[in-house]
């Protein structure tokens, strides 16, 4: 099976300090991974590198066998990989407009756009929030909307940075429930987290980032 993403020799340095030194790193299609590790281990940095938001030295990188460069405007990154922040920022419009944001660049018809937004809101369980301004949303609602906003673009790989941090009870469960549905749709998900509830999920492949290296895959 051709890996979705295969990286060889990834290094991230801050001055003299090497934060990440990853020899080999592979993500398979339609798979979910959790990247565990203590604060400061470089989990967020790795996700930001993979989404083109942070530069790094990469010897070799291939997306479905095709060479890829990790710059924010690379074609593959724009179409296939979407990163969701730990504390997602919402544009100061309605929930529906937030979810539609990325689709506007895709040049699709209004009918298609409306149908996609409708389906995405339903998927994330936020249809009732459609016309709500985003400044009144809870942390859990923001996280689900941010994941729906990424998913609507049909990326093959979603990078979720601590999606359950600062969430508890029902809000956390609602976010966790979305992850297997993404995989069932054929997407891969790489989650950076140190939340035990998330790490212990049975269908997630575990990786640990320690001292800049991925310990297990």
């Amino acid at each position: 099976m051709t890996p979705l993403l295969a990286i060889n020799g990834l290094k991230k340095r801050f001055g003299e300090h090497t934060l990440l030194d990853i020899g080999e790193f592979t993500i398979n299609p339609a798979s979910a991974y959790v990247l565990a590790g203590p604060n400061g281990a470089g989990k967020t940095t790795l996700l930001r590198i993979l989404s083109g938001l942070e530069p790094a030295e990469i010897a070799n990188a291939a997306f479905l066998g095709q060479s890829v460069s990790f710059s924010p405007y690379s074609r593959i990154l724009r179409n296939e990989i979407v990163y969701v922040h730990q504390h997602p920022i919402m544009f100061s419009t309605t929930v529906a407009e937030n979810i539609a944001y990325g689709l506007h660049a895709r040049g699709i018809s209004k009918a298609e756009l409306d149908a996609s937004v409708e389906e995405s809101m339903e998927w994330a369980g936020v249809t009732h929030l459609r016309d709500r301004g985003t400044n009144t949303l809870s942390g859990g609602e923001k996280q689900r909307i941010a994941i729906a906003r990424a998913r609507i673009l049909k990326p093959r790989l979603l990078l979720l940075d601590e999606p359950t941090s600062n969430l508890d009870g029902n809000a956390k469960e609602q976010v966790i429930e979305l992850i297997p549905t993404l995989v069932r749709e054929g997407r891969s998900v790489l989650i950076a987290s140190h939340d035990a509830d998330l790490i212990e999920l049975p269908d997630l492949e575990k990786m640990a980032l320690d001292k800049g290296r991925i310990e297990c895959c």
Partner: protein, 235 residues
Amino acid sequence: MDFSASIREAFLLLFTGDVELWRIIWVSLKTSIVSLAIATPLAMVGGYLMASYQFPGRKILIWLAQVSLSFPTVLIGLLLYLLMTRQGPLGAFHLLFSQSGIIAGQVLIGLPVLVAFTLASVQAADPRLAETAVTLGASRFRLMMTVLHEVRFGVMAAVINGFGRILSEVGCAMMVGGNIAGETRTITTAIALETSKGEFAQGIALGILLIVVALFINAALMMLQGEASTSGVAS
């Protein structure tokens, strides 16, 4: 003429529809609004680029924008006068003593304020905003529009301040416009002229009008600011 008599006469002038007075107001509004309409998009793009990208000369441009905030408008007027005079490099365009000349001066006067406010607003924006837009596939142009929309309160503050500086400036309009009645006489240059002639009533009437006009325009811009807070970035 004492103060109270001047005020009385000023109100009389205002409410009897003095043609000369209304012509002055028209010239002022026309030149100020056109200048603002030219300077605003330039400043928005310039301020955004300076705040968002690294390029050679960026620091010098920021420094220039900040320094020119404290430039006396009369100095800008003098500079433009020398450029626009018949022997100057812009002499062929016949801009001196014309409304176009005043507009050129007011654009130069308004630009630094607009750029400095926009720059500060974009720099203060949460960096996740641009990152989110980029990772959702926004083009560079859409990214700029999204960021400017999100910092619209700062942008509107820029427009309000820029308009204030343009409307109230006198030195440049006097030098470049020449204070020609019915053509290049603005509210501020008329106040200066009437006061120098001892016609305080006319000066006060114009002063009141300047304040009223500024209040109305600011109220309109603030209403627009309110509208902007409910309009859609994605639409």
